[in-house]
Symmetry: C2
Subunit: 118 residues, 2 copies
């Protein structure tokens, strides 16, 4: 089920809403860099190329891995769009399965993790 190609063109697997596991979601959100990505998606979907890392020391290859952990936990969708990819937060699925969790985490996130795109 795992792919070694970081980002093949096309669809990537996403767990169904019913398959989301609390532990995996908490783990995905327990990393500041991953949480910072999620915070960027609160206002709406974003081209992956526009999604940035708040920590400039993080390698671009790590960015792919961060996206993957978030996607496999069911926190974000990563879908092909034209030549690029679009990231979106699975807010409805998360709110349905874990009511209040996402809001509690986002409102508690350090300000550096709530950067908004201008």
């Amino acid at each position: 089920m795992s792919e070694n190609i970081p980002f093949p063109v096309g669809e990537l697997p996403h767990p169904a809403r019913e398959e989301l596991i609390l532990s995996q979601v908490l783990f995905a959100l327990s990393d500041p860099a991953r949480l910072a990505i999620v915070s960027q998606l609160v206002e709406g979907p974003l081209d992956m190329a526009r999604c940035y890392l708040t920590d400039p020391t993080i390698a671009k290859s790590t960015k792919s891995h961060l996206m993957r952990v978030l996607r496999e936990a069911g926190v974000i969708r990563n879908e092909p769009k034209g030549r690029g990819r679009t990231l979106s937060l699975r807010r409805e699925d998360l709110d349905y399965r874990f009511p209040g969790l996402l809001d509690a985490i986002l409102s508690s996130a350090p300000s550096g993790e709530r950067l908004e795109l201008t």
Copy 2:
């Protein structure tokens, strides 16, 4: 600051309320065995000896490590009491720093992680 003695008699270090870090709290709660321990403390403090692991395959030495991760993240207190130790959930501190987070997690935890002592 770290101790190699798993559970010395006496006081162990606990982070102050202001020192709690969201990422560390989420990480501590992202493990089912750790979350199961937290669930046992919802009703009140518990002697560590009475705190059990829901997964019987987990070694007792691992139990000490689970407690340590929870304590160092500021999720629980682990304090000496007579010849034993008492564990308690730092609910007030967690609610103060991360409003709604603990309740959202506890209410979303799988039933196996909400076992109550009888």
